[in-house]
Symmetry: C4
Subunit: 159 residues, 4 copies
């Protein structure tokens, strides 16, 4: 198991949204509106990484536009309503000339599994599904929505 | 106590909504609007079962239309505002020619008890009321709203 | 410490709202709107007590109309925006000819203390403030908002 | 480590908002609206301190106007959208003639650190970031949003 994550070894940080930036819950209203609960500490960490010129995107299967709203506030890119995350990620990295071996991917459930298997830095929150923990090389000791990205940021060696 | 749940032994999965798909909480606004908190992991599991041709319905005593909204998003049927769940379930299974012995029912509180006593697979979340745990043949080791259906799906033998 | 609560010994059940029916949290929106989280299991218990002809009211210091909305749905009375709960309770019981010794009062924080000292059945949730637990004769082994009234209902001897 | 906090030694109480008055979470809607979860017990404590003529302000980095809404309800001042809390706090105290040695500051994450280093009473909730706990002279044994100010109030010697 790899231990250190150095900024210079990372081309791109990819975050699944639900279950990573959130506790995987969704608030459902009678009119079909939805809301999710994010963590300000992740917002702070994402901003710090952006200031350190680390590329970051959200990659989500959800139809809901909440991920785009959150990405806009945190000034990073979001790709949502994705059926096949692995294929989408390969295409995105090819376009941007990112090396998959230098991609860090934080995922929590089975639809992240194939994408996580092709990147150099597959990361899981503490409460990820067991099928995900099997393929993760890094486990963050924090549950989804409780500051996973904040804790990840503390582990990145910036110099 | 039965241990295995085989897809071929199940005609229908019935889910009480509040306390099973949710933590039994309800968000109440000043104008009377309500919202509940669901779990994306249950959504993923319900979709997987649907793709495996397993029939699923929500059966709820609640007047609120939230259960219908959630059912629509997950593309399953919802029967809500039900006063007598046992009678409603018998009628539904008769119409659909489902065998009650092949019905799985996940419930959490006393208004599920009579319906659970007539089905072959009565299931309770870990935090169900004690009167429900008494009649359940399966206890899912997860609290309501924390991914009960996701954990149930992991226990179903699909072949 | 009294242990049994018999229906025939109770004229009135009084529930503080925030911290008893809720976890004492309030959702705050940018436009000043508020929402709170209630528990369906308390709703079920209040309905059962109503069907058993047990009188119940909410008594709340809060300005917000949420308590009235919740009371309406559960078909009980609410008195809110109350500055002095003790005085209000005395006046209400005098008007309704309820004996304070036969009043059960569930409260959680210091503004419930004086009212709880004059009733026969002062009750506190597990996570009430210590100044309240000092005057409570009954502690419900459940935190506010987690089904305090549901657990209380299980302790009432109906016959 | 100082233990007693006497009212007469305090010119001003400064509360970071997110992570102190809240659990640092934010509810995010599809239209970009946000909401946060506050605690009624903190509201009660802030009112009691106001009645005891203790000056209190919220000091927040957040753009969102929620902090102003909450401050208005609790009848205290809020300064939000603050980039550099230390500089803002110095200017505010100079204008109001408050002695920084008599300022109590409750903060939870790295953007509070510099401001906390210049005040006489730096306070952290139990779940504050480790970089904050390093500079705090007082740790409140309660997590952010769970009644930090209510617990702090219990520690203040009013006479």
């Amino acid at each position: 198991m790899k231990k250190a994550i150095r900024k210079k070894d990372i081309d791109l940080m990819v975050y699944d949204f639900d279950g990573v930036l959130t506790d995987n819950k969704v608030l459902v209203f009678e009119d079909g509106k939805e809301a999710v609960v994010c963590n300000r500490s992740d917002g702070l960490a994402i901003r710090k990484m952006r200031e350190n010129k680390i590329q970051q995107i959200f990659l989500s299967a959800e139809k809901s536009g909440i991920v785009a709203v959150r990405a806009k506030k945190l000034k990073i890119k979001a790709i949502h309503n994705v059926r096949d995350k692995k294929t989408t990620l390969i295409a995105y990295c090819k376009e941007k000339k990112y090396d998959l071996k230098k991609v860090l991917y934080v995922g929590n459930d089975s639809n992240d599994r194939e994408a996580m298997k092709i990147v150099g830095y597959p990361v899981a929150p503490r409460d990820a599904h067991k099928s995900i923990k099997e393929v993760a090389k890094f486990i963050i000791n924090v549950d989804g929505g409780q500051g996973v990205i904040r804790a990840l940021y503390d582990r990145i060696i910036l110099k």
